[in-house]
Symmetry: C2
Subunit: 425 residues, 2 copies
């Protein structure tokens, strides 16, 4: 059995902790033995607890590949799309990677699982039954159906032929209204949690068929492209804990504590959660059913039930991203002025920036921690705490971290944009 | 007539916009023709509208004197206490200043008024009646009694002898419980808003008497030291708008708009106010009766009715102050790290820092706007945008702003504290 984890998506619904370049699966919010782990880390840990020595491939986009590598062990494979599409192209690409690069046999069962489900280990135990069905039954596709706990309008429904734990699938239903959802549940309907299993050959065949009909890979989900057209499908029922933690409301339901970071509650707050990623303190008084999330990019304060409607408000905000994880470490915008921008850059030991120059701005680097080497127009210079380097516009430059390294970078110029960057390697 | 405005106090109750060094009377929060003015500016403007060419002296503490000067016209006098006491010592000191320095005649009526009352111009009209009484009646002290609008437990009560607009005072009552407050109101009781009038000679005499009984000036209010022992008092009734804007709840009641700064409300927020002094956006969704205030020092999110109980929570926070107004401009802490601190300093044209040095830290200055002169160990150096200056520990330094000037200052050292500062002038 091979597992493909789907870890894409930019997710504005967990703003300001997720943004265009920082996906929700990287937010460290889940308590695990005193530390916080991200959704991605939690799912990887659980899979490895249940399936020792299983082979995992993470399907992601090119833009997230480098960040992803910081969060995973080296024995997890990564398959990257050159640009973001929907789940079907991502899965097709990963299938080709498994077949062509990893030489996985065509009849190997493949388990495909999104990375944003908050579940207990039984969820991953079900994968064994699914793989067994793929191997030893004539079914083409096996889904995991989540036992619904209420008539949700947020999920697609799978209508099984029987109430058995393993059943043929009669039909798929798109997200219904609450009334229709009730009827589906009466018929034994299950939520479609986006987990499915099939042989590698099946994925390759479907990719091939669909490629014939399209000149380029379309923005299309696997459900739409494959599942809904397949007649020979089974579903395995899962009745354990399952939460889609894609909104602040559902995310706070699975938090162990009511706060993360510098937060001071008064005694009259009820059912409220504050996640503070900034280093300024937050005082919360008399809040009821409120979620607060603060990062260098912004502050959300929302009634929990309203928090799922955040997207259009975030779409309205056209601000530069303040905090980002990079392959080499992190950067944080600490001051924005008319003709300058000040940034704190953290480079992890052994990492470096790409060799680059700017057309329209000068930069001043002040090393505040660590040791490294700076290259300026091909000349190397050793630097340590307290060293200051001026980089005029046009000069090629990079910094190599010989230890963990922190730099305050002051950018000065009339038109400071991230686009003003010429790469020299 | 002379007016003494009392503008002291550090006020944690409007945290995070007020702090130890930034008093609530300087927060620019009151809409006035498209601009925002502070409480101090509003009161000064109103007094000048009602009393043309009146002489105003602001009684404040030494620590606030320089900031105060940035907010007022040059024709307003300032009398500063060397350290903070209560209202009685502040008033006594200002009386001495008026008599000894300003040579005000002893029989001149003096109006004393706190700076934190949100009122309409009629309030200041009443001062004329009060001054008239001081001048032409045998009463020693004239108070302004606020017509109570509800049985508040927050104010002291003045019990007048009659229901006339001008009446003798029968007695003073400390802040009562609600039930007692109702009884006071039935007896015609008025709120004590802290405004009173008397002859300058009366203030000088009282100061003299009290000084004889105390070896040093105690922390004592004027009400306690003088009013409550005085038999010959009148009260003038004021029935217009009067709001004590000392808490977030009462402050939001007088705000014209529901937000200041970068704030995005969804359509389901009700009776909620957001004041955002940071440059990161705030999204507010589904909030009911909530006040939010954000500054570089912190974020408050409070049910409006709870907001008056903030003080003990602020007392718990032991953070460095991030933003401060200085005589020369402003400074803002933009990054705190283990062995460094990064600050943005804004100097107004013609201003300078004091000449100083540090024992335990180096500093790097990068000019990001304007022109000026830097003095390093008595040597002068002209600087402009893009210039970088390294200041090792021990070196005396200052900067003089020839235009408005902005500097990013990176402090590097093991024990960075505000105390590590040696002044050389």
């Amino acid at each position: 059995m091979q597992i493909i984890l789907l870890s894409g998506g930019s997710g504005k619904r967990l703003w300001p902790l997720s943004n265009e370049i920082r996906s929700k699966q990287f937010i460290k919010i889940f308590s695990n033995g005193g530390n916080y782990e991200s959704m991605l880390q939690k799912v990887l840990r659980q899979i490895q607890e249940v399936h020792s020595e299983i082979s995992i491939t993470i399907s992601t986009s090119k833009t997230q590949e480098k960040i992803l590598k910081k969060y995973i062990d080296s024995d997890v494979e990564i398959s990257s799309e050159p640009c973001r599409r929907n789940t079907f192209p991502a899965i097709a690409l990963t299938a080709a990677f498994l077949h062509d690069v990893k030489k996985i046999p065509a009849d190997e069962p493949i388990l495909i699982c999104p990375v944003d489900s908050y579940v207990d280990n039984n969820f991953f135990e079900s994968f064994k039954i699914m793989a067994e069905l793929v191997k030893n039954s004539p079914t083409n596709l096996v889904l995991l159906g989540i036992n619904p706990t209420y008539p949700s309008e947020k999920y697609g429904y799978i209508i099984p032929a029987s109430k058995e734990n393993i059943s043929k699938v009669l039909e798929f239903k798109e997200k219904p209204d609450a009334e229709t959802a009730e009827k589906y549940i009466e018929r034994g309907g299950l939520w479609n949690g986006g987990v499915f299993a099939c042989k590698l050959s099946y994925l390759l065949k479907k990719a091939d068929e669909i490629l014939k009909n399209y000149s380029s890979l379309p923005n299309i989900s696997f459900d739409y492209a494959v599942s809904e057209n397949e007649k020979n499908i089974s579903v395995v029922r899962y009745s354990g804990e399952w939460k889609d933690v894609g909104t602040w409301n559902t995310l706070t339901e699975v938090m162990e504590e009511n706060s993360i970071g510098k937060v001071y509650f008064d005694s009259t707050c009820e059912n409220s959660h504050v996640i503070n990623e900034t280093d300024t303190p937050i005082i919360a008084m008399g809040l009821k059913n409120v979620v607060v999330a603060a990062s260098p990019d912004g502050i959300l304060i929302s009634d929990k039930n309203r928090s799922s409607f955040i997207k259009p408000l975030v779409d309205n905000i056209h601000e530069q991203i303040r905090f980002a994880e990079k392959s080499y470490g992190t950067y944080k915008v600490i001051d924005i002025d008319e003709n300058s921008l000040t940034i704190k850059v953290v480079l992890n030991e052994g990492h470096k920036m790409r060799y680059h120059s700017h057309e329209h701005r000068d930069e001043v680097w002040t090393v505040i921690e660590g040791k490294g080497r700076i290259i300026l127009d091909d000349e190397i210079k050793f630097v340590e705490v307290g060293d200051v380097v001026k980089i005029p516009a046009g000069m090629k430059h990079t910094i190599i971290a010989d230890t963990n390294l922190k730099v305050i970078e002051v950018q000065i110029g009339r038109d400071i944009t991230v686009e003003d960057k010429i790469l020299w390697e």
